[in-house]
C-alpha cells in the first residue's frame, strides 16, 4: 500500500474511529473527551483531504480497490476508491463543513443529555458521506447512500421523545426508500447488462450500452440507458429531495440545527447531484432522461421557492430555500452543465451551512424561539450573527461578487443556452425563482434582524413550551465563540469561493475526465466564449436581468416587511385560495398521508383479515379440519364396537367385491 493509499483510507476511517469511541464509550470517557476525539477525527480527515487535494492538483488521480466485498456468479464486487478532482472537491466540502459543525455543536448542544451520542452520529455521518463520494463502484455508493440515510434518520429523531421528530424521521427514511427503490433497480440494470458494478468498467462498455434496448411494456423497445438513468435519478430525487419526493426535507427540521446545516443542506442532500454528475457519461447518452431531470429540477426550484415565502419558522424558510437551490442544481444537470451543478453544490454548501448555523445561533439567542414573527431588530443584539447572516443571504440571492452569484448565474445562463427538451420551461422557472429567492430570503432577514423588536411581547407566552430554563427572561444575546467562530469561518468561502473557483472549475477544464459532456449538449460553451475573468463577470452581473429580479425581490421584501407590515396579511386574504394552497404545501403531505400511509395500512388489514384469516384459515385450513372432523363423525357410526355389525359389514363387502370381479370376468 502506497503512502497516498494509506492517506485515502485515513480520510473516512478517522471520523469512524471518533464515532465509535464517542458512541460506544461516550458515557465512560465523558463529554469533553467525546467532542475532542470526534473533532480530532474530522480534523484529521480534513487535513488529509487537503493533502490529497494538493496531490490531485499536481495531476495525480487514483482508482483502486480496497477489498473484494463479495462474489456471486460472475459478479465480482469490490470496494475501492476513485480519487479525482470531483471526489477531492467533495471531500474538502464535506470535511470542512463537518468540522465547522462539530465545533459549533459544542456550543449548540452543550446542555443536551445526548451530547456524546450526537457527536458520535455526526462523525458517523462524515464517515458515511466520505465513503459515498470516494467510491469507485456502485456497491459502495449504495452503502454510503443508505448509511447517510440511516444517520439522517437517527439525527432527525435525535430528540426521540418528541412525537413530531419521530414522525419526521420515519417519514424521511421511507420517502428515501422510495427513491432507493429506483436507484437499486438502476444499479441492477447496470449489473445485468455489463456484468460489473465498477464505474470504470461500466463506462468502458458505454459504446455497446448506448445501442442496447430493453422491452418494458409489451414489445416496445426502450433505450437501455434512458431507463437506467431515470431509475438512478429516482434515487437522486429521494436523497436530493426533488418533487414529488421532497416531502421529507421540511419535516427533517425537527432535528437539531447543526445537522440541518450539515446533512439537510450542505452535504447529504447534495449526494443525488453528486451521483448524477459522477454518472455524466451515462446521462449524456440519454436526452430523454436529461429532459426528465430538467423538468423535475425546474419545478422544484420554483415551486418550493414559493413555499419559502409563507413559512414563519426560521428553519423551515431555510429548508424550503434548500429545496429550491437543489432544484437549481438539478436544472444544471438537466442541461448537461454538470460542472455548474457541482460548482453551485459547493458554494451552496458554504452559504447554506452558514445560514443554517446562523439560524441556530438566532434560535439560541432567542432562547429556542423559532418563529420569525416574534423576532426583529436582532442586529444590535447579535452583531456577528447578523453580519454573517447578511453575507449568507446575499450569497444565496446571487449578489454579484458573492459565491452564489457565480454559480447561480452560470446555471441560468446555461439553461438559456440549452436546447434540451423543456429548457424554455426551466428558464422561466429559474428566472422567476431568482425573484422568489430574494424575496423570501430578505423577508426572513428583515423580520429577524431589522424592524421592531417583537420578542418582548412574545416571550411571556411562548417561553414555557420550550424547556430551556437557563436563560429564562433574558433579552437575546450573541452566542458563545464556539458558535460564532464557525459562522465567520463559513462566511469567508461564502464570499470568495465563487470568485476564486469559477475560472478553473467551469471554464478551465479543471474537472477533466471526471465529467463528460458531449459537444452538442455543452450549454456552458456559450458562457465560456464570453467569459474573460471572474471580475468581469461580476461587474457584468450588475447589468443582467437576474440581478434586477433579485433586487426587486429584496425591495419588495423591504417594502412589505419594514415599510408597510400590514400588506402581507392583506394579500393573503385577497388571494385566499392561492394562500391556502401554499399553506398546505400543495397538499402533497395530505395526499401521501391518505393514499400511501393510510392506504397501505388498510390494504394490509384487508389482506390479513380477508385473505389470511377468512379465506385461507377459515375456509381452507379450518374447513379441511371440519371436513375431516365431519368424516370422522360418520365413521363413528360404523365403529360401534358390536362384533355382529362388523361381521355383517365384512360379509356385505366380500359379496360386493365378488360381484365386482365376477362382472369383470
Amino acid at each position: 500500500m502506497s503512502e497516498m493509499e494509506k492517506l485515502y483510507l485515513i480520510v473516512p476511517l478517522a471520523p469512524l474511529v471518533g464515532a465509535i469511541f464517542a458512541g460506544l464509550f461516550g458515557k465512560l470517557i465523558g463529554r469533553t473527551a467525546s467532542h475532542v476525539v470526534t473533532i480530532l477525527g474530522v480534523a484529521v480527515a480534513f487535513v488529509a483531504s487537503v493533502v490529497v487535494f494538493q496531490d490531485v492538483q499536481a495531476g495525480n488521480s487514483y482508482n483502486g480497490s480496497i477489498y473484494t466485498w463479495a462474489t456471486a456468479g460472475d459478479l465480482r464486487l469490490e470496494l475501492g476508491f476513485l480519487i479525482d478532482k470531483l471526489t477531492v472537491m467533495m471531500m474538502l466540502v464535506v470535511t470542512f463543513v463537518s468540522l465547522m459543525v462539530h465545533i459549533y455543536t459544542i456550543g449548540y448542544m452543550h446542555a443536551d443529555p445526548g451530547y456524546q451520542r450526537f457527536f458520535s452520529y455526526i462523525s458517523l455521518f462524515t464517515f458515511s458521506m466520505l465513503m459515498l463520494v470516494m467510491s469507485n463502484n456502485f456497491v459502495q455508493l449504495f452503502f454510503g447512500w443508505e448509511a447517510v440515510g440511516l444517520v439522517s434518520y437517527l439525527l432527525i429523531g435525535f430528540w426521540y421523545t418528541k412525537s413530531t421528530a419521530i414522525y419526521a424521521n420515519l417519514k424521511a427514511f421511507l420517502v428515501n426508500r422510495v427513491g432507493d427503490f429506483g436507484f437499486l433497480l438502476g444499479i441492477g440494470l447496470i449489473a445485468a447488462h455489463t456484468g460489473s458494478l465498477d464505474y470504470a468498467t461500466v463506462f468502458s462498455k458505454l459504446p455497446e450500452l448506448s445501442v442496447k434496448t430493453i422491452s418494458l411494456f409489451g414489445d416496445s423497445a426502450w433505450p437501455l440507458l434512458t431507463v437506467v438513468c431515470i431509475c438512478l435519478f429516482v434515487g437522486a430525487m429521494g436523497k436530493s429531495a426533488q418533487v414529488p419526493l421532497h416531502v421529507w426535507l421540511p419535516d427533517s427540521m425537527e432535528g437539531p440545527t447543526p445537522i440541518s446545516a450539515l446533512i439537510h443542506a450542505a452535504t447529504m442532500v447534495t449526494a443525488g447531484i453528486f451521483m448524477v454528475t459522477r454518472m455524466s457519461p451515462l446521462f449524456e447518452v440519454s436526452e430523454t432522461a436529461r429532459a426528465f431531470v430538467l423538468v423535475i429540477g425546474a419545478t422544484t426550484a420554483l415551486f418550493m421557492g414559493f413555499l419559502g415565502i409563507i413559512q414563519n419558522d426560521i428553519k423551515r424558510v431555510v429548508a424550503y430555500s434548500t429545496l429550491s437551490q437543489l432544484g437549481y442544481m438539478t436544472v444544471a444537470l438537466g442541461v448537461s452543465a454538470y460542472s455548474a451543478a457541482v460548482f453551485h453544490l459547493m458554494t451552496h454548501a458554504f452559504f447554506k451551512a452558514l445560514l443554517f448555523l446562523a439560524a441556530g445561533s438566532v434560535i439560541i439567542g432567542m432562547h429556542h424561539e423559532q418563529d420569525i414573527r416574534r423576532m426583529g431588530g436582532l442586529w444590535k443584539r447579535m452583531p456577528i450573527t447578523w453580519i454573517t447572516s447578511l453575507i449568507g443571504s446575499l450569497a444565496l440571492i446571487g449578489f454579484p461578487f458573492m459565491a452564489g452569484f457565480f454559480s447561480k448565474d452560470s446555471i441560468i445562463e446555461a439553461v438559456a443556452a440549452s436546447h434540451t427538451l423543456g429548457a424554455k420551461y426551466a428558464y422561466a422557472c429559474v428566472l422567476i425563482g431568482v425573484f422568489v429567492t430574494a424575496f423570501y430570503s430578505f423577508r426572513m432577514y428583515f423580520l429577524v434582524f431589522h424592524g421592531r423588536e417583537r420578542f418582548h411581547a412574545a416571550h411571556a407566552e411562548a417561553h414555557d413550551d420550550h424547556g430551556h430554563g437557563a436563560h429564562g427572561g433574558e433579552v437575546p444575546h450573541e452566542s458563545p465563540w464556539v458558535v460564532w467562530l464557525p459562522l465567520v469561518l463559513l462566511a469567508v468561502p461564502s464570499v470568495v469561493i465563487g470568485y476564486l473557483a469559477i475560472g478553473p472549475m467551469l471554464f478551465g477544464d479543471w474537472f477533466g475526465a471526471s465529467i463528460v459532456v458531449h459537444e452538442g449538449n455543452n450549454a456552458l460553451a456559450h458562457l465560456e466564449a464570453h467569459f474573460t475573468s471572474a471580475f468581469g463577470m461580476a461587474i457584468h452581473g450588475f447589468m443582467t436581468l437576474p440581478f434586477a429580479l433579485a433586487m426587486a425581490g429584496v425591495a419588495t421584501a423591504a417594502y412589505f416587511y419594514l415599510v408597510k407590515p400590514e400588506i402581507p396579511a392583506r394579500i393573503a386574504t385577497a388571494f385566499g385560495p392561492v394562500y391556502r394552497l401554499l399553506e398546505n404545501k400543495y397538499y402533497f403531505d395530505r395526499f401521501n398521508e391518505i393514499v400511501f400511509a393510510a392506504g397501505s395500512r388498510a390494504l394490509g388489514k384487508v389482506f390479513w383479515k380477508a385473505g389470511d384469516q377468512a379465506v385461507i384459515d377459515g375456509l381452507l385450513v379450518n374447513g379441511t379440519a371440519k371436513i375431516i372432523g365431519g368424516f370422522a363423525q360418520i365413521i363413528r357410526y360404523f365403529q360401534t364396537g358390536h362384533l355382529y355389525q362388523y361381521a355383517f359389514t365384512i360379509i356385505i363387502g366380500v359379496v360386493v367385491l365378488l360381484a365386482f370381479w365376477g362382472s369383470r370376468g
Partner: protein, 493 residues
C-alpha cells in the same frame, strides 16, 4: 484432521449431550442441566468449525462424506456429506443452538433439563437433515425434528398452543406424506436405491416429473412457508417460547428452501423450470402481500413472523430464476435471515420477559429506560429492513440483481420490499422504542443484563461482519451453485 467424522459429530454430540441433560431429571438439578447443555452446545459448535476451515471451495462434489450400510435389505444407508449449499447451515444451526441455550438460561425455570434437551436433540436432528444423502435418512431426520419442536411449543408455549400445534400438524401431514410417496417412487424408479445423488441422474418423463415436483412442493412449501400455506407460522411463533421461535425462524424455515435445492431442482429440473413461473408468482405474492399484512399487525411476534415469510419469499424467488447471482443471493439471505430473525425474536423475548406482553400498544418510549437494548434492536431492525453493511442487505441485493437479469418487472415487484420492509419494521420500532415513556411497565424496565448483552452482541457482530465482508460466505457456495446450475441445464426427459 482427516479421520474425524465431523458430520457425525455435528449430529450426535448434541443428541447424546441432550440425552445426558435429560438424565439430570427434575428441576432441583437445573444448574447441572444448564451446565451440561452449555458445554454440549459449545462442543456442538466447535465440531462444525472444521467443516468450514477444511472445506474445499473448488469442488461441487460432496465433502466430509461418511457412508455405511444401515438397513441393507432395502439398501438404506447411513450416508452423510455436505457441499457449499448445505455446509453453512450446519454451522448456523449449531451456532443458533448455543445462542438459544444461553438465551434460556434464567428465563426457563420449569422443566429445565427437558427444555435444554429438546433443543440439543433438535439441533442434532437438524444437522442430520442438512447432511443426509440418503432419502430415508433424510426423511427420518426431517420428521423426527418436528417432535422436539412440538414439545417445545406444547410444553413451554403460550395459552393457545393446542390450536397452533394442530394447525401445524394439519399443514405438515399432507406435505410429508406426499414427499414420502415421492421418495418411495424414486426408490423404485432408481432400481432400489435411496442415494439422493443417484436420483439426480435419473431420467424421468415430464408427467412423472410434474407429480414428483408437486409432491416435494407440498412438503417444502409448507416448511418455507410459501403463500398460501403460510398461516401456521404466525400462530406457531406467537405460541412458541422465545427459543422455539428463534430455532423455528432461524433454522426450521430453511429446511423447505434447502429441500428445493437438494431435491426439486436437481431431480426434476424440467418440471422445476416448467413450473418456475408459478413459484415466482407465489414468491412475489409472499414479498408484497405479506409485506402489507405485516404492516397491519399489532403483535410484535406476529409482525416478525410475517416479515419472515416475506423474507423467505425472496429466497424461493432467488432459487427459481436459475441464475448464480440470484441463487447465491437467496442462500445468503437464508443465512442472514437466521441471524436477523433470530435476533429480532430474542429482542422481543427480552421485552416479553419483563412486561409479559407482545402487543406493540403496551410499549412506547422503551429507549428511555433501555438505551442499550434500543441500540441493539435498532441494528437488527435495520438489518431486517435490508440496510447495507448489515447481512440483511447482501441477500436482497444479490437477489434483486439476479432478478433484473431475469426479468425487469419481477425485480421491480421484488424491490418493493425495500419500502415495505422498512415501513413495517421501523414503524414497529418507532411505536415500541421511541417516544415518551408510555406507562408504568415501561418506566420500570431494566436495561439488558450481562447475559442478554452477550448474546445480542454476538449476533450483532455476525450481522455486521456478514454485511461488511460477505465474501467468506459467498465463496464457499460458488462451486456447488455452479455445479447445480450446470446440472439442471441438462434436460432429463
Amino acid at each position: 484432521m482427516t479421520g474425524w467424522q465431523f458430520l457425525s459429530l455435528a449430529i450426535w454430540v448434541p443428541i447424546v449431550g441432550g440425552l445426558v441433560t435429560l438424565a439430570t431429571g427434575p428441576d432441583r438439578n437445573a444448574p447441572l442441566a444448564r451446565l451440561i447443555a452449555l458445554v454440549t452446545a459449545c462442543a456442538g459448535l466447535l465440531v462444525t468449525i472444521p467443516l468450514y476451515t477444511g472445506f474445499d471451495t473448488t469442488t461441487a462434489s460432496m465433502q466430509f462424506v461418511e457412508r455405511y450400510q444401515w438397513v441393507s435389505r432395502f439398501s438404506i444407508e447411513y450416508y452423510l456429506g455436505v457441499d457449499g449449499i448445505s455446509m453453512p447451515f450446519v454451522i448456523l444451526n449449531s451456532f443458533i443452538t448455543l445462542i438459544v441455550v444461553v438465551a434460556g438460561w434464567q428465563v426457563i425455570d420449569r422443566k429445565v433439563a427437558q427444555y435444554n434437551a429438546a433443543f440439543l436433540i433438535m439441533s442434532g436432528l437438524l444437522n442430520g437433515i442438512f447432511s443426509s444423502l440418503d432419502g430415508v435418512l433424510f426423511y427420518v431426520f426431517f420428521e423426527a425434528s418436528l417432535i422436539p419442536l412440538y414439545l417445545i411449543i406444547g410444553i413451554w408455549g403460550g395459552p393457545n398452543r393446542v390450536y397452533a400445534a394442530i394447525k401445524f400438524f394439519l399443514y405438515t401431514l399432507v406435505g410429508s406424506l406426499l414427499m414420502l410417496v415421492a421418495i418411495l417412487w424414486l426408490f423404485m424408479e432408481s432400481g432400489g436405491s435411496f442415494d439422493i445423488l443417484s436420483w439426480h441422474n435419473l431420467k424421468i418423463g415430464m408427467a412423472a416429473q410434474s407429480l414428483i415436483f408437486f409432491a416435494f412442493l407440498a412438503s417444502f412449501a409448507v416448511k418455507v412457508p410459501m403463500w398460501p400455506v403460510h398461516t401456521w407460522l404466525p400462530d406457531a411463533h406467537v405460541e412458541a417460547p422465545t427459543g422455539g421461535s428463534v430455532v423455528l425462524a432461524a433454522i426450521a424455515l430453511k429446511l423447505g428452501a434447502y429441500g428445493f435445492l437438494r431435491f426439486s431442482l436437481p431431480i426434476v429440473p424440467d418440471a422445476a423450470q416448467h413450473y418456475a413461473s408459478l413459484i415466482l408468482t407465489l414468491s412475489l405474492i409472499a414479498v408484497v402481500y405479506i409485506g402489507f399484512v405485516a404492516l397491519a399487525q399489532s403483535d410484535m411476534k406476529k409482525l416478525v413472523a410475517y416479515s419472515s415469510i416475506s423474507h423467505m419469499g425472496f429466497v424461493t424467488l432467488g432459487f427459481f430464476m436459475f441464475n448464480a447471482v440470484a441463487i447465491e443471493g437467496a442462500l445468503v439471505q437464508m443465512i442472514s435471515h437466521g441471524f436477523v430473525s433470530g435476533a429480532m425474536f430474542l429482542c422481543i423475548g427480552v421485552l416479553y420477559d419483563r412486561v409479559h406482553s407482545r402487543q406493540i400498544a403496551d410499549y412506547g418510549g422503551v429507549v428511555n429506560t433501555m438505551p442499550k437494548f434500543a441500540a441493539f434492536f435498532l441494528l437488527f431492525a435495520m438489518a431486517n429492513a435490508g440496510l447495507p453493511a448489515t447481512s440483511g442487505f447482501v441477500g436482497e441485493f444479490l437477489v434483486v440483481l439476479g432478478a433484473v437479469q431475469y426479468n425487469f418487472w419481477i425485480a421491480f415487484v421484488a424491490a418493493t420490499t425495500l419500502i415495505l420492509g422498512a415501513a413495517y419494521t421501523l414503524w414497529m420500532y418507532k411505536r415500541v422504542v421511541f417516544g415518551e415513556v408510555a406507562n408504568e411497565n415501561v418506566k420500570s424496565l431494566s436495561d439488558l443484563n450481562a447475559r442478554e448483552f452477550a448474546f445480542l452482541a454476538v449476533l450483532a457482530i455476525c450481522v455486521l461482519a456478514m454485511g461488511i465482508y460477505p465474501l467468506p460466505v459467498t465463496e464457499v457456495m460458488h462451486a456447488s451453485v455452479n455445479g447445480l446450475l450446470q446440472h439442471i441445464a441438462v434436460s432429463k426427459l
